[in-house]
């Protein structure tokens, strides 16, 4: 009975989505705001990546809310998992190739993570993507050597500092007489590494925060699971 209801629900949902999608004109979206943003974004924010100018310029407060949601999720996961357990003795150390490969990959992943963060306003990428790569770079040695521990206090410090600097950049715009988190365009240098005003600073804060949060979350999950 329950299965039948569930199947009916799923089928009805699929039919509803199909009916909605059938009424859409594929390839010609009716939204006009996208074209308006495309026409104005390079002059208003100075970023060549228009997605970045939407995420950090036009919807910056949403991004702040998203960071808060991510922080709430990480904090409640830590609360649910409780204090950390030592995983000594429950997991064997990785082999030679895994350990050496982890050691070699760590600086390379750090480099590419920061590259993606710093070029977020020019090329595809940005703080979220680069932050995930940074978290993976910190998590990789943990997979090779399960006994190793991340410094959770350092990670929380980085996370808090990054979140505070995101808000500070927003307040800076307020002090300049603009709206909260409005991008400050210093000079017109479209397409260069140092351009787009405060957007790279915001993305750096986002990248550090996401990286630190995910790294501490992953290590917490791994260590709790090891204590089973």
């Amino acid at each position: 009975m329950g299965n039948l209801t569930g199947l009916l629900f799923a089928g009805g949902l699929g039919f509803m989505l199909l009916a909605i999608a059938g009424g859409l004109d594929f390839g010609a979206p009716p939204m006009l705001i996208g074209s308006a943003i495309q026409a104005q974004a390079p002059a208003e924010t100075g970023a060549t990546n228009i997605v970045t100018s939407v995420v950090l310029g036009y919807r910056a407060i949403d991004t702040l809310g998203e960071l808060s949601i991510l922080f709430a999720a990480a904090a409640s996961a830590g609360l649910v998992l409780g204090r950390r357990h030592t995983s000594a003795g429950t997991q064997t150390e990785g082999g030679f190739i895994l350990r050496t490969g982890g050691g070699i990959l760590f600086p390379l992943m750090m480099t590419i993570g920061f590259y993606i963060i710093f070029h977020g306003h020019l090329t595809p990428g940005g703080g979220f993507q680069g932050g995930v790569i940074l978290a993976a770079a910190f998590f990789l040695p943990l997979l090779a050597r399960p006994g190793a521990k991340l410094h959770h206090s350092t990670l929380s410090l980085i996370e808090g500092f990054a979140g505070a600097s995101f808000i500070l950049v927003g307040l800076l715009a307020l002090a300049e007489g603009k709206a909260f988190l409005q991008p400050l365009l210093i000079q017109d240098t479209l397409g260069q590494l140092f351009s787009a005003g405060t957007l790279p600073l915001l993305y750096l804060a986002v990248g550090l925060k996401v990286g630190a949060e995910l790294a501490s979350l992953l290590s917490r999950l791994a260590q709790t699971e090891a204590s089973q």
């Binding site: 629900f9 859409l24 390839g27 939204m31 991510l70 996961a77 479209l190 995910l214 089973q228």
Partner: protein
């Protein structure tokens, strides 16, 4: 009648199919971890749907490659929203998995009905009340016996 297999049909079918399969999995699965995985599948379908909503024919990614005349670009707003959705999805999944770890440590199972059963017993034991075995039967005696009609006095005083 089978419509022609155009790219947009395939893409829409994938998006809708992933969403439907994922939500069916959430409703139907018995194992709690499979429920989380179904949620991930549904999320992928919804994200694909959002990106498709901003597509334009013969358009490039919304990144300026040269100054001057710009080619047609896809809508950047759904892409930014999907970026948000993916990150929030990761947070939700991490929270769900950590709750699952706790459930497994406490009850040593991830079967949905079994966990619900043991949780119910646990709550009843903590509260010191008898277990609610049936959903339909009343939970014991009526709290107050019905008041006889002749003893009801509107003024409140019994004479």
């Amino acid at each position: 009648m089978i419509p022609a297999l155009t790219p947009e049909l395939i893409l829409y079918a994938t998006a809708i199919g992933l969403t439907t399969i994922g939500l069916a999995g959430v409703v139907l699965s018995v194992h709690l971890f499979r429920m989380v995985l179904s949620l991930v599948i549904a999320e992928a379908g919804v994200n694909l749907m959002l990106v498709l909503a901003g597509y334009r024919w013969d358009a490039v990614a919304p990144i300026l490659t040269s100054l001057g005349e710009q080619p047609a670009m896809v809508d950047p707003v759904p892409q930014a929203m999907v970026l948000t959705a993916i990150v929030i999805g990761v947070g939700v999944q991490a929270l769900a998995v950590s709750i699952l770890i706790r459930i497994r440590q406490r009850y040593a199972t991830l079967d949905r009905w079994e966990v619900a059963e043991r949780m119910d017993a646990d709550i009843a034991a903590t509260a010191g009340t008898p277990r609610d075995v049936s959903q339909e039967a009343p939970l014991g005696e009526r709290p107050l016996p019905p008041i006889p009609a002749k003893r009801v006095d509107p003024s409140g005083s019994e004479s």
